[in-house]
């Protein structure tokens, strides 16, 4: 476990789930009664993946655990059954055994909560279970899924995460990275939090591609509520909202870091856009390194509090964490050189791109993000001028007026038209591009 954050093993002493590591052995298809039993057992408070795995090992199957619990003297049978012959494991506590017995009795109600909220239980061994998750230390025995996990089986899955309080620039960068990844055929996963996570998901939705959100609590306790509509849009767009927790589990301080291991674990690489010194996004980055995934950090000014965590992480893990020097460069580093469906260009086809210092670098990526002008085609000049300024980082009406040289009234009117078509929005007295405009490339002509 790396230095930052909380491990997945807050439940137990850091041991690996027996047989739970990246083995290539195909798992036996899951029986329907085991799937239901898993859904019931995961609702038990205190029964995490480790203990559950151990009980399954001892008693044979999830369904067998429930049968034991429902039988006569179920509690004692569970305790006895959980004791290993060699004494390697201690027996489960009585309170936990009681809770399992209660859950077994409430089986019908608990299953109703799952099916009633339109959730599916995708367990290990199911074809839909995200393949990359099988390779992490403690894979969740089952996932509660709204939507489809199909998009996690594509060639590249990339997590885009960051602070819940980003700067306007950070938001735009997250949107651009997510849009570019989508255009290159990768699936973006994130955590549905406000801020960077939300911007990344929203960019995928506006590109019309599936994206997957791992949430840190039960589905019935979706947090933040402000993202209810975003969650719906993700599901409607062919993506999924996923939780390893039963529907009624309250999100808490401990569930979010644990959830973070799924964000990194289901991806090939994690991109951290902005993170303050104690941001949970750094936990996800640490998980990525732990799980042997690529870790990309967008650097920021050393004066920017929203980038303290990013810069600190780059310093602490130099050599392991990689720097994001631009969106095309990131795509190159992820092996996403071409737009989806196009053949990867040969090295000789690499385009020359000018860096800020005038040096030319070879970038193979052919993925292009549109310019503000392209997004705004056919709109009036005032809107175009204001949109250009927004994409270039103007945020207040003061700045928009100064940059566009339009009157205050004209700028305000243009903002109204942009907002009405979902291209800009006010937030705390500042304005920012949203939707397709958020992903516009400020350097594109």
């Amino acid at each position: 476990m790396l230095g930052v954050g909380v491990g997945p093993d807050g439940l137990d002493g850091g041991g690996r789930l027996p047989g739970g590591t990246a083995d290539a052995v195909p798992m036996a298809p899951l029986r329907e009664q085991d799937r239901e039993a898993l859904a019931v057992l995961l609702s038990v408070n205190g029964l995490g993946p480790l203990t559950l795995g151990r009980l399954v090992d001892r008693l044979g199957s999830p369904a067998a655990i429930l049968e034991t619990a429902a039988g006569i003297g179920g509690r004692d049978a569970l305790v006895e059954g959980s004791r290993a012959a060699e004494g390697e494991w201690r027996a489960i506590p009585l309170a936990l055994a009681d809770a399992i017995v209660t859950a077994a009795a409430d089986r019908a109600k608990l299953l109703d909560q799952v099916t009633g909220s339109g959730l599916r239980v995708v367990a290990r061994g199911d074809a839909e279970y995200p393949p990359r998750l099988n390779a992490i230390d403690i894979p969740p025995p089952a996932l509660f899924v709204r939507g489809s996990l199909l998009s996690l089986t594509v060639a590249r899955v990339v997590a885009v995460v960051g602070t819940r309080r980003p700067s306007p620039a950070g938001r735009r960068i997250a949107s651009r990275i997510a849009a570019a990844l989508s255009r290159a055929g990768a699936t973006v996963v994130s955590g549905l939090a406000i801020g960077i996570d939300g911007a990344a998901h929203a960019a995928c939705v506006s590109e019309g591609v599936p994206t997957v959100a791992f949430i840190g609590g039960g589905h019935a306790r979706l947090f933040p509520r402000a993202h209810d509509r975003l969650a719906d849009a993700i599901v409607d767009g062919g993506g999924a909202v996923v939780s390893e927790y039963a529907p009624m589990v309250e999100p808490s301080k401990g569930t979010f870091p644990q959830r973070n291991r799924l964000i990194s674990g289901s991806s090939d690489g994690v991109v951290v856009v902005e993170a303050g010194a104690r941001s949970g996004a750094l936990v996800t980055a640490s998980w990525a390194l732990e799980q042997g995934r690529e870790c990309f950090i967008v650097p920021g000014s050393i004066d920017a509090p929203t980038s303290d965590g990013c810069n600190g992480f780059l310093r602490d893990w130099h050599g392991l964490a990689r720097i994001v020097s631009g969106v095309p460069q990131l795509l190159d580093d992820l092996g996403l050189a071409a737009a989806a469906g196009l053949p990867a260009p040969l090295g000789s086809n690499a385009t020359r791109r000018q860096t800020a210092v005038g040096k030319e670098v070879a970038v193979r990526s052919t993925v292009e993000l549109p310019s503000a002008k392209a997004v705004l085609s056919g709109r009036d000049p005032a809107q175009l001028a204001v949109a250009e300024a927004l994409v270039h980082g103007a945020v207040t009406v003061d700045e928009l007026v100064a940059v566009t040289r339009l009157s205050v009234g004209a700028v305000l009117g243009a903002l109204t038209r942009l907002e009405a078509s979902g291209l800009a929005r006010p937030i705390h007295g500042r304005y920012e591009p949203v939707g397709p405009l958020a992903a516009a490339d400020p350097r594109a002509a």
């Binding site: 309080r165 939300g198 402000a226 205050v408 009234g409 705390h428």
Partner: protein, 521 residues
């Protein structure tokens, strides 16, 4: 002997003529005042006793009974002091007044000086209505009393001067007993014009406000149409400073409004007043102010801040920190332009046609939207502004959010428009509105009137319904949009509301009514 004189008392903003009957009879020495007087009237006994003695008169060792009539009007304050003192002098035959109806208003000091009282103007006006021909008032209040036509105002600085003004023939002033003055002059002449201890800061000019063009424009639009304005923003972004420029931006009051503003100022004890109040009042009560301080009331039925802001602006800084009761109480005045105060003794209705201007932080810590500085939870900012209740938010037409400006804007060379320039535009826009039938400001026109003055062309009407649909505006929200757009058009001198005016006005909607056009927060 019985002496009967006229004086007046103040009931809220109204003067009431009262008859002061003083009977000085033989018997055990005593001094009784009857007639529904409050504590300050009962204390008049002590003031009058001292004043008579120290002015060189005799406080007669007889049985003195003062009756204040009519008995059913509650009398408050010290305005009857002078009449009581003079009544005793007449009743004890220390001088003989000449014939003719004269009234007396004033508080007496222990030294025999006559001090100004709150509400002199409405009290004198009440006397004039009752055909009183002559009134003796405190010397400091002479200018104020002379604002009333139709009666002779006689200023008197001391009891002796008052006696001289009333007596039938002149005689030498009585010798005054020796006394020692230790109090500094300024304190002794409390209420007289002189250096105030904490002079109010002069209002800043709009040219002193850097950046914040959006908020400046919102302020201009709000003042031009009399719309309620709420500024939301972190501390130090200029909300309060912008609000403090308001007195310089508003046009002077009309004659009728000016008279009523002067009466309110007089009754609120802002005197002595030397001329009609022409500047629209700007009241900025603190958020810890009590219900009675804002609405009015108390034993004296004193006008509250809503009444003192009549014809002007009521500025509530830190709006979300005001108590719920106080904010709820603003409902009636915002809707009817007046406020009713109901007491056990009866009810009065006071004018309260103020324009509401308010400011609030976006969240309890004040730093929402400022990178990592906000320490509030994610949903706290929305809840904080959400504390402003529905009826109140319905009366606020113009909402604007301010963000901290960058230092570059703060110190650039561009000279912002001055209050004179913006004030002229506001005055012109108001003149346009007042020239229309009814002469009401846009914020006060009814729905039908609004449709008439908007003069929407079909294309503008279509755009209005598009905007309303896109923003999912309620009927009230759409009307508010059109109302503000009418003011934007007035500022532009346009006859009809055009699309551009609608689109600018659409920026001043409450943030909460904004559906999440973008998916992600």
């Amino acid at each position: 002997m019985l002496a009967t004189l006229l004086s007046a008392t103040l009931v809220a903003l109204d003067g009431r003529v009262i008859r002061v009957e003083v009977d000085v009879a033989p018997g055990l020495p005593g001094f009784t005042i009857v007639g529904l007087g409050d504590a300050s009237i009962r204390e008049a006994r002590e003031r009058v006793r001292g004043a008579l003695r120290n002015a060189g008169f005799v406080h007669p060792p007889r049985r003195i009974t003062v009756n204040l009539a009519p008995a059913d009007v509650p009398k408050t304050g010290s305005a009857a002091d002078l009449a009581i003192a003079i009544g005793i002098l007449i009743g004890s035959e220390q001088f003989t007044p000449r014939a003719g109806r004269a009234a007396l208003i004033g508080e007496v000091s222990l030294g025999g000086e006559i001090r100004p009282v709150p509400g002199l103007l409405p009290m004198v006006a009440a006397l004039a209505r009752r055909s009183v021909r002559r009134v003796i008032v405190p010397a400091d209040g002479a200018d104020e009393a002379r604002l009333v036509d139709g009666l002779e105002v006689v200023p008197a600085a001391t009891l002796v001067e008052a006696v001289d003004a009333l007596r039938s023939r002149r005689r030498a002033a009585p010798t005054r007993p020796a006394r020692v003055e230790l109090a500094p002059a300024a304190a002794a002449s409390a209420g007289r014009p002189g250096p105030a201890l904490a002079p109010p800061l002069p209002p800043p000019d709009l040219a002193d406000v850097r950046g914040q063009v959006e908020a400046r424009r919102a302020l201009e639009v709000a003042l031009a149409g009399g719309h309620g304005l709420l500024m939301i923003g972190p501390p130090g972004t200029g909300k309060t400073m912008l609000a403090r420029t308001i007195p310089k931006l508003l046009p002077p009051l009309s004659d009728a409004d000016s008279l009523s503003a002067t009466i309110v100022a007089s009754a609120s004890g802002e005197g002595p007043i030397h001329a009609l109040v022409r500047t629209p009042p700007f009241r900025a009560p603190h958020h810890t102010s009590s219900y009675a301080a804002i609405v009015g009331g108390g034993p004296r039925l004193a006008p509250g801040e809503v009444t003192r802001a009549d014809n002007g602006v009521l500025f509530l800084d830190e709006l979300a920190e005001f108590s719920r009761d106080v904010l709820e109480a603003l409902r009636q005045p915002l809707e009817d332009g007046r406020v009713s105060i109901v007491r056990a003794a009866g009810a009065v209705t006071l004018p309260a046609r103020f324009q509401l201007v308010a400011a609030t932080n976006p969240c309890p810590c004040g730093h929402a939207g400022e990178d990592d500085r906000c320490i509030c939870g994610e949903s706290v900012p929305a809840r904080y502004v959400g504390r402003i209740s529905g009826p109140l938010r319905d009366r606020i037409d113009v909402w604007v959010t301010l963000a901290r400006i960058r230092a570059a804007v703060m110190f650039d060379d561009a000279e912002p428009e001055s209050s004179d320039v913006v004030g002229a535009r506001i005055a012109a826009a108001r003149a346009l509105q007042q020239a229309r039938p009814g002469g009401k400001l846009n914020s006060r026109i009814g729905s039908r009137g609004l449709r008439a003055v908007a003069r929407l062309r079909p294309v503008t009407r279509d755009r209005l319904s598009e905007l309303a649909d896109a923003e999912r505006l309620s009927g009230r929200g759409t009307e508010r949009l059109l109302r503000v757009a009418r003011t934007v058009a007035d500022l532009a001198g346009a006859d009809a509301v055009e699309v551009e005016h609608l689109e600018e006005a659409a920026r001043w909607r409450p943030p909460s009514s904004r559906p999440v056009m973008a998916l992600a927060v």
